[in-house]
């Protein structure tokens, strides 16, 4: 092995990676082989117990960005990163299960552009479809940048060659039918990721002397860091609240408000309740009761994911020499981008230092799987929206199915090429989570505002639908640019939280004002789209009352809520 690669992989590691891809491609081939088999295939996916849909629900989200981003965050700011899970995910998942899911299930809306079209008509649909397509391209760029980072780390190729090769690999993965078995691959991926991150965490903790050793080292590193490195004090890195290191606010009170409203409410409710890639997992289940329980069951593993992604990041920051240098203000050479070590490299560097060949291969397989699946999901979501919501509805109507399939294939290739360029933007960020939260602020926060207002307020008009979306997004971009220009000074993810909150407020205020002066849709067209116009019997499952308490929605959600509150106090 040449010495200029970041990770020294042996044939054993490559064998484990090859086995994983053999499985994934094998599933794709089996699914295509014969009609009856593929029916079995999808049905066994549907009649699976709720724990599997629950796992698939969070695996769709436990992708590359989360693993690398959360460990980078853990390395940089420590324990406050848990807010992404305990404030920024679990409450929204419970809300989705308890309040929103019966409504989705009853109204049979299957995508966000579809809801926009039926609720608000063409204007909001067009705006939403375009912004969704752009967002998918930018997020695909993040996944591709991370994938190329691994290729670079393994093989030592220049980053742009790695980007092109990684793009080509994803393209063939999509064409070879890897997506037709999405739910299988996601569940499989979850187990491979846990099987590699759990040993990584345990060995890492063992190396630094257990949890106490870790806290001592974090404290010592923070105390010894030079002032200009701007490292958060040890106490802030080891306590989740008030989380100034995460929000960037000096005042503890403002920090708590920023986290609860910006991250906990706008960003996370916006993400979880309008993200149909995940919601669809739940809607494939056989009853309202099962659909409601899916995100709630998913919330239980989700609570414990931070221990295997954030803790390794923290360990990496006190164990790996390059990360120690980086955190005390240095700029060490190397790293996955080839342009110096970044916090994004925390997990890869820890793997290099503590995993023996064998386990290393398992970890690489898990990461590659997560990146490819993530990017493939972005690309195919883009493909669907581009071909059907944009091209067919607005550009070329009434062509044959074959025609749109061809457009879809061209869109897939085009999107992959564009992602190679959007990956350059992602590579410019030292901590990928900052970039991702910024994007969510642009796209998800106004969407959530329009969605929730349109769902609960029947007076909201079609004009208000698109005006709110456009100006919400523009205001978030304005806040981001002001922050970039230094007018607003918030380190960490504070600027992203502020942009998201601004977008939300601007969207709501404008939507209300515009609604009051324009003409609403007649109530007869709002059935199934607005809460007050939807019959109650569509929203409840008559069989659920007969089930034992541990299979009912509300008791399960209460337990999850109680557990997450305990976790918030414990750390």
């Amino acid at each position: 092995m040449s010495s200029d690669t970041l990770i020294d992989a042996s044939w054993l590691d490559y064998l484990l990676v090859a086995i994983y891809f053999g499985f994934v491609l094998g599933i794709g081939v089996m699914a295509r082989r014969s009609v009856s088999d593929s029916i079995d295939f999808f049905l066994s996916g549907r009649s699976l117990p709720a724990w599997v849909t629950g796992l698939a629900f969070i695996s769709a989200n436990l992708g590359a960005v989360e693993i690398m981003g959360m460990s980078a965050n853990g390395a940089e700011i420590g324990l406050p990163t848990v807010h992404y899970f305990w404030v920024g995910a679990v409450p929204a998942m419970l809300f989705l299960g308890v309040v929103m899911m019966p409504f989705y299930y009853g109204s049979k809306v299957r995508s966000v552009p579809e809801f926009m079209f039926r609720r608000f008509g063409t204007g909001a649909h067009l705006v939403n479809a375009i912004s969704f397509a752009v967002a998918q391209l930018l997020i695909a760029g993040i996944n591709l940048a991370l994938l190329a980072g691994i290729v670079h780390a393994l093989l030592g190729w220049p980053i742009w060659i790695a980007l092109v090769v990684a793009g080509a690999v994803v393209l063939s993965y999509i064409t070879l039918g890897g997506l037709s078995a999405a739910i299988y691959n996601e569940v499989l991926q979850f187990f491979v990721i846990v099987a590699s991150l759990l040993p990584l965490t345990l060995i890492g903790l063992h190396r630094v002397g257990g949890w106490d050793g870790l806290t001592d080292k974090v404290d010592a590193a923070a105390a010894n860091a030079p002032a200009d490195a701007a490292v958060a004090p040890g106490s802030q890195q080891l306590e989740s609240w008030p989380g100034q290191a995460l929000s960037g606010f000096d005042s503890p009170l403002l920090s708590v408000i920023g986290i609860v409203f910006g991250l906990g409410f706008v960003l996370s409710f916006g993400y979880w309740t309008t993200n149909f890639v995940e919601v669809q997992r739940a809607m494939a289940s056989d009853s309202i009761s099962a659909a409601r329980k899916t995100p709630i069951i998913g919330a239980f593993p989700k609570m414990f994911v931070p221990f295997i992604v954030i803790v390794p990041g923290m360990v990496s920051a006190v164990l790996v020499q390059e990360m120690i240098d980086l955190k005390s203000g240095g700029s060490p050479e190397g790293g996955a981008s080839g342009e110096g070590v970044a916090y994004n490299d925390a997990l890869l560097l820890l793997m290099r230092d503590v995993l023996p060949n064998g386990l290393l291969g398992l970890a690489i397989a898990g990461l590659l799987a997560a990146f490819m699946a993530g990017m493939a999901a972005n690309i195919s979501a883009f493909n669907t929206v581009f071909s059907y919501d944009l091209w067919q509805r607005y550009i070329r109507k009434d062509h044959s199915d074959d025609y749109y399939l061809r457009i879809g294939r061209l869109a897939t290739v085009g999107a992959t090429v564009i992602a190679i360029f959007t990956a350059q933007i992602a590579l410019g960020y030292d901590n990928i989570m900052n970039y991702l939260q910024t994007l969510f602020g642009f796209f998800n926060a106004p969407l959530f505002a329009t969605f929730i207002l349109g769902m609960f307020w029947k007076r909201m008009t079609p004009t208000a639908g698109w005006v709110g979306l456009v100006f919400g997004t523009l205001s978030a971009i304005a806040v981001d640019r002001l922050a970039a220009a230094g007018v607003i000074d918030l380190p960490g993810q504070g600027a992203a939280f502020l942009a998201a909150s601004t977008a939300f407020v601007v969207d709501i205020v404008l939507s209300v004002i515009v609604s009051l002066v324009t003409k609403p849709k007649p109530a007869s067209e709002l059935r199934g789209l607005v809460y007050s116009e939807t019959p109650r019997e569509d929203l409840v499952d008559p069989d659920e009352a007969a089930m034992p308490w541990w299979r009912r929605t509300i008791p399960l959600a209460s337990i999850a809520l109680a557990m997450v509150i305990v976790l918030n106090f414990a750390f």
């Binding site: 054993l12 064998l15 484990l16 086995i19 994983y20 499985f23 599933i27 089996m30 699914a31 295509r32 009609v35 009856s36 088999d37 593929s38 029916i39 079995d40 295939f41 999808f42 049905l43 066994s44 996916g45 549907r46 009649s47 699976l48 599997v52 049979k108 299957r110 579809e114 079209f117 039926r118 997506l179 037709s180 999405a182 739910i183 299988y184 569940v187 499989l188 187990f191 491979v192 099987a195 040993p199 060995i203 063992h206 190396r207 230092d353 503590v354 995993l355 023996p356 060949n357 064998g358 386990l359 398992l362 071909s387 059907y388 919501d389 067919q392 509805r393 109507k397 199915d401 749109y404």
Partner: protein, 106 residues
């Protein structure tokens, strides 16, 4: 999700999901990894300087074998039965495509 599904297969008789049961697939992958890592732990280099003295490959391999056996055993004991008929999701009239109106293949 797939372009290979076809309407005439909805009349298939009830049977077990078998190989397509996701628990069998998880179990098989975990078991294969378990065997390889256990062997690597027993026969390969130990690299204690990386792991702090623990034979990580061996322990992970054994744990994966247990997980794999658990999933395969569970799938054996409680097989999933594929129902003979099921509701296909409706085509959405407000959404231009894809529509399921291909002629039957056979």
């Amino acid at each position: 999700m797939s372009d290979t599904t076809d309407t005439n297969a909805t009349t298939a008789t009830p049977h077990k999901a078998g190989l397509f049961d996701v628990r069998n697939i998880i179990g098989a992958l975990m078991a294969v990894y378990g065997v390889i890592l256990t062997l690597a732990g027993l026969l390969g280099e130990h690299e204690p300087e990386k792991t702090g003295g623990v034979n990580a490959n061996l322990w992970t391999g054994l744990a994966l074998l247990v997980v794999g056996a658990f999933f395969i055993g569970w799938a054996r004991l409680r097989p999933i039965v594929v129902p003979s008929d099921f509701d296909r999701p409706d085509d959405d009239p407000t959404r231009p495509a894809p529509q399921r109106k291909r002629p039957p293949a056979h």
